[in-house]
Symmetry: C2
Subunit: 251 residues, 2 copies
């Protein structure tokens, strides 16, 4: 029996990988879960490979469970990255093999990979970040503090954000990113952060309420300066309905 830290690459399909852009929202900032590679010290997206009996979605869920401790994460595939040179951008990758990993095939990481990009929306506070075998740090990084990433991961991140922005136009967002109870300004800030532009406070409220996906509670947020804002909660049924049938407005 192998050590748990061993990566038995024989069980994985060759040439195929997946990378996850995990979005969280905290302190009015959009954050992405990143790993720092042990050797090269470059930051990278959490990713992994596909086992013989897994679909891409199941594999992505497994990878995210390992990195965040969470199950049943909101997850969408958004693009396939298949530039034949994408695996060669960083020749240091194979070097990472040194770090306590036993490989049946030493060339595993030097093969060409076609990677399926997923984006995930998770509630920040629930995540317990765990590095993988090749990384020493796994943590949330604010979107505007992210510089260059390993290989083509920056492109993957940008494409994920672009996709999320488009989704926002005809699908509600927030149920997976905010805590159970939240205020209108918090929800608005989330939308503004994703869209990258400011929205009118009053028009935003009117539009969101018109969708009937959130319900106002008889509580206000305590311990905040100035007037206490009301708390809201997503209406699960209407939210799921809106996810399927789509909204109509533009932002």
């Amino acid at each position: 029996m192998k050590k748990e830290s061993n990566l038995n690459i024989n069980q994985f399909l060759k040439h195929i990988s997946l990378d996850c852009v995990v979005f969280g929202f905290h302190e009015n900032q959009l954050k992405v879960l990143l790993l720092r590679m042990k050797k090269t010290r470059e930051w990278a997206l959490p990713g992994g490979f596909v086992q013989e009996n897994e679909s891409m979605e199941v594999a992505a869920n497994r990878v995210l469970k390992e990195r965040t401790g969470l199950d049943h994460i909101f997850l969408n595939q958004f693009h396939v990255f298949s530039d034949p040179k994408r695996s060669n951008i960083n020749p240091a990758v194979p070097d990472v093999l040194e770090f306590g990993i036993t490989f049946a095939d030493e060339n595993w990481f030097s093969q060409r990979f076609i990677s399926v990009g997923f984006y995930a929306l998770v509630e920040f506070s629930l995540v317990q970040p765990k590095p993988d075998l090749l990384s020493d740090i796994c943590e949330w990084i604010s979107l505007d503090e992210i510089g260059s990433l390993m290989m083509d991961h920056r492109q993957i991140l940008d494409k994920a954000l672009e996709t999320l922005r488009l989704q926002l136009v005809f699908q509600p967002v927030g149920y997976n990113l905010l805590p159970d109870k939240f205020t209108m300004p918090e929800l608005q800030k989330l939308y503004e952060t994703i869209l990258g532009k400011e929205l009118d406070r009053r028009n935003f409220q009117r539009k969101i309420l018109a969708y009937n996906i959130i319900s106002k509670l008889d509580e206000v947020r305590q311990g905040v300066p100035h007037k206490a804002p009301s708390l809201y909660r997503f209406n699960p049924e209407n939210y799921q309905k809106a996810l399927k049938e789509g909204l109509n407005g533009k932002w």
Copy 2:
């Protein structure tokens, strides 16, 4: 040197395939390019595999060039189909190997494939359908005449159509599906066919014209019963601009 009909599978990446849903529009009907498999007589989407030095997009273009004779086809990837059982749905697939094809690895078709779905929009009249090594017929089939397809190709087709429908809401469609000159009723019929519902003739014209993506010509369509409709032409610059920046309306 091998015969041209040979398929040298050594040059392809294992486990990875692509399938194309090629849409065309003819006689007011949306059509899809399908192949009929020699042995099983099932209909299937044109597809192929990825060479060592190709991106998925380049591979898809190569496959489509082989099936249609066309280059520079409008092409979008829309989903990855990775159910581990998807390759096993039709156990007859490997039998097709009998038909004059030499394989270095006889098990090529029995391996598991993860397939990237592409949809293509092409001008019907420009296509010269050519069967591939495993099929005897390659032809356009009207959308409403398509029954069950090989493996999960029906799901792939449905997903492509769903994607195309969503795209229609915020991107113009037609430049790749209609001939250079077309009439307003023809364009409307295309939209109605893709959306699967009827649109008001007058409101459609108003909305399409508001996008500034088509220009009215000083010609009318000849040889048609009743009043001769005006001809229009897409404005390439505005069309490309609308493709990138997106429209806003809903249908």
